[in-house]
């Protein structure tokens, strides 16, 4: 077990170093060392002041997506569950569309994360509320409410995009955000992301026992003294917060939240105690690597991150799945 954790940690460090090196102009180890030791040249500052916060933000976003996926898969006892399931993607995208296209006279670099967060969180609350009004807060009800609200929000976002864009306000900005755009936060923003990621991890960890019990079936969980309804609602709120923080710093990054918990499960087994941190680590590694590819693959352009995670992550995940099923 210790070997698994050590390997994951080493892989994350390696991924971060690779991320620092990656770009349209690759940096060598010597350049990275020089940049990190405070060299004032422009190339060094590009690495230290621009790439480093971005790579660390990618790690934070990836960790949150891994956590969120793990929570929702445990909660719905469904391996296809993913963090954007309960309307958070649609809600966040509307918030981002407004922030990117409506001139509100507020600095966009903080309006964007705030509105994306509120959109994601608000949409999940809406789903929770709707399914509660409609009857029971159970998995099927939540999922259906999520699908319906996602459809409404998707249409609304498309309308906003068409109505608010013109020659100077480009649709590409919104589109690339919805395909996953890691923001490059300043140092204070990065500290905030780190604190929120840690808080989300601690909250998620507290649901581990409940998720394990829920995995035995609702009746069994109830027998073990779990107030299932209350726990599901609380866990959804935690999951929504995790995902809302992720989208506010990273846009909509496809597939990571689905794949990372599976990879983690193969490494550490199904118990949520170890599974939750492992999912976070795997998610962080995957997003940092994907972001490195996104920033370096097609110069002079930057490929949206969500395309990389889906295009490169999909086949990689299928290979792992095939090997797993064969053994």
């Amino acid at each position: 077990m210790i070997r698994v954790w050590a390997t994951l940690a080493a892989l994350l460090v390696a991924a971060i170093l690779l991320g620092l090196a990656a770009g349209h102009d690759w940096a060598g180890p010597a350049e990275i060392v020089r940049a990190l030791s405070g060299d004032p040249s422009l190339d060094s500052r590009l690495i230290a002041d621009w790439r480093l916060p971005r790579v660390l933000a990618a790690a934070g976003v990836g960790a949150l997506l891994g956590l969120g996926g793990c929570l929702f898969q445990g909660l719905f006892r469904n391996p296809l569950a993913e963090p954007y399931l309960l309307g958070s993607a649609g809600g966040a995208a509307i918030g981002a569309t407004v922030a990117l296209l409506v001139p509100l006279g507020v600095p966009q670099h903080w309006l964007l994360p705030v509105l994306a967060f509120l959109g994601a969180w608000g949409a999940t609350l809406l789903v929770l509320g709707v399914s509660r009004v409609a009857g029971a807060v159970d998995a099927a009800g939540l999922l259906l409410a999520g699908v319906a609200i996602a459809a409404v929000l998707g249409a609304l976002r498309s309308f906003l995009m068409l109505a608010l864009s013109d020659e100077t306000v480009s649709l590409q900005v919104v589109l690339s955000w919805t395909l996953g755009g890691i923001q490059t936060p300043g140092w204070s923003g990065l500290a905030l992301l780190a604190a929120l990621t840690l808080a989300c991890f601690l909250l998620a960890q507290r649901t581990a026992r409940g998720l394990d019990l829920l995995g035995l079936g609702e009746a069994m969980a109830h027998g073990f003294g779990l107030d299932v309804k209350r726990f599901v609602a609380l866990a959804v709120l935690v999951g929504a917060a995790v995902v809302a923080v992720a989208v506010s710093f990273g846009g909509l990054v496809a597939f990571v939240g689905l794949a990372a918990p599976h990879i983690a499960r193969w490494l550490v087994g199904p118990r949520h105690g170890p599974l939750i941190p492992a999912s976070g680590l795997v998610g962080a590694i995957v997003v940092v690597l994907a972001d490195a590819i996104a920033r370096s693959a097609l110069p002079p352009a930057e490929v949206p991150l969500g395309l990389i995670t889906a295009v490169a992550g999909g086949p990689f995940f299928l290979i792992l799945l095939a090997r797993r099923l064969r053994s």
């Binding site: 349209h24 109505a163 490929v303």
Partner: protein
């Protein structure tokens, strides 16, 4: 007393050196300060390249975007971005001392923040009218330390526009639509009021057939038919125009029956640079063939 005098003298002597720093306000209201006239410019988008070239500084351009085709001498310069976005790495590699950019595609979102953090001056310009295009020429010239040249160039352009206006004074204006693009659904993109393209059409003696501010830039071919314009302009190639208007349905368009569907140059009407004045002069001659020359 002598000390104060000496100090005053020092300040007076220092003043010219300090005065070399130029601060300009850009379209986003940002204050951009240049310590000395920039020698290495990265111009994002064809329009900004043309603005810089118009004040005679094309040789200072060290980076362009991949759709820049004019003027010919800049075409081979290093590219820092294209359809899919813009590269911070590639801009930095050129060691620019000024980046000029327009809020289109993702340019402003991808470049302003990193350039500010790295301390590379970046100027954002917009173009909602022909006047604003002229103001951009003056702005770029001022930022580049050739303010007088900017004044001279815009003065010359303005007097050409004034001449067009004098020729058209008191004449009736045909109702015109300009089709600037097509989307896959069959809808047309048209020049909207509030854009410099529409402003240029008006300067050339047109009246906009769609003169209401619209929410969506696309209109259906049906709406174009219903608005019954006197003249339809197609920004693009002759072959594309023929292909589009050969499609069924357009035969009901009066302008087509009267042979008044015309092609205009995309470079002159869709790149907000000094060549818009060429476009206005040519279009004015087409719209008002019997006006005095």
């Amino acid at each position: 007393m002598r000390l104060i005098a000496a100090a005053a003298l020092t300040i007076a002597l220092a003043a010219p050196a300090a005065g070399e720093a130029v601060t300009v306000a850009d379209a986003l209201g940002r204050q951009v300060t240049l310590q000395r006239p920039p020698q290495r410019l990265v111009t994002i988008f064809a329009s900004n390249t043309e603005l810089v070239a118009s004040v005679g500084l094309a040789d200072r351009i060290v980076g362009i975007e991949s759709f820049t085709r004019f003027p010919p001498e800049v075409v081979g310069r290093p590219q820092v971005g294209g359809r899919l976005g813009f590269s911070v790495d590639r801009v930095v590699r050129q060691r620019p001392d000024l980046v000029i950019v327009t809020p289109a595609r993702q340019a402003v979102h991808q470049l302003v923040d990193p350039m500010e953090r790295l301390g590379i001056p970046i100027l954002v310009v917009t173009h909602r009218s022909v006047d604003e295009v002229f103001a951009n020429i003056r702005l770029v010239a001022k930022a580049a330390g050739v303010e007088a040249r900017g004044e001279a160039v815009t003065h010359a352009l303005q007097s050409r526009l004034d001449a067009v206006a004098r020729r058209l004074a008191g004449r009736g204006r045909p109702r015109v639509i300009m089709i600037t693009g097509r989307v896959a659904t069959g809808l047309m993109l048209i020049a909207r009021p509030g854009s410099y393209t529409a402003d240029a059409m008006v300067a050339a003696g047109a009246r906009l057939a769609f003169d209401q501010p619209q929410m969506l830039p696309q209109v259906s071919p049906e709406a174009i038919l219903r608005s019954d314009p006197d003249i339809v302009l197609f920004a693009g190639s002759e072959a594309d125009r023929r292909e589009l208007f050969a499609r069924p349905g357009w035969q009901h368009l009066r302008a087509l029956r009267e042979n008044r569907v015309l092609t205009v140059s995309r470079a002159e009407f869709l790149i907000p640079g000094p060549r818009v004045v060429d476009g206005i002069e040519k279009l004015a001659a087409v719209l008002h063939p019997d006006a005095p020359r």
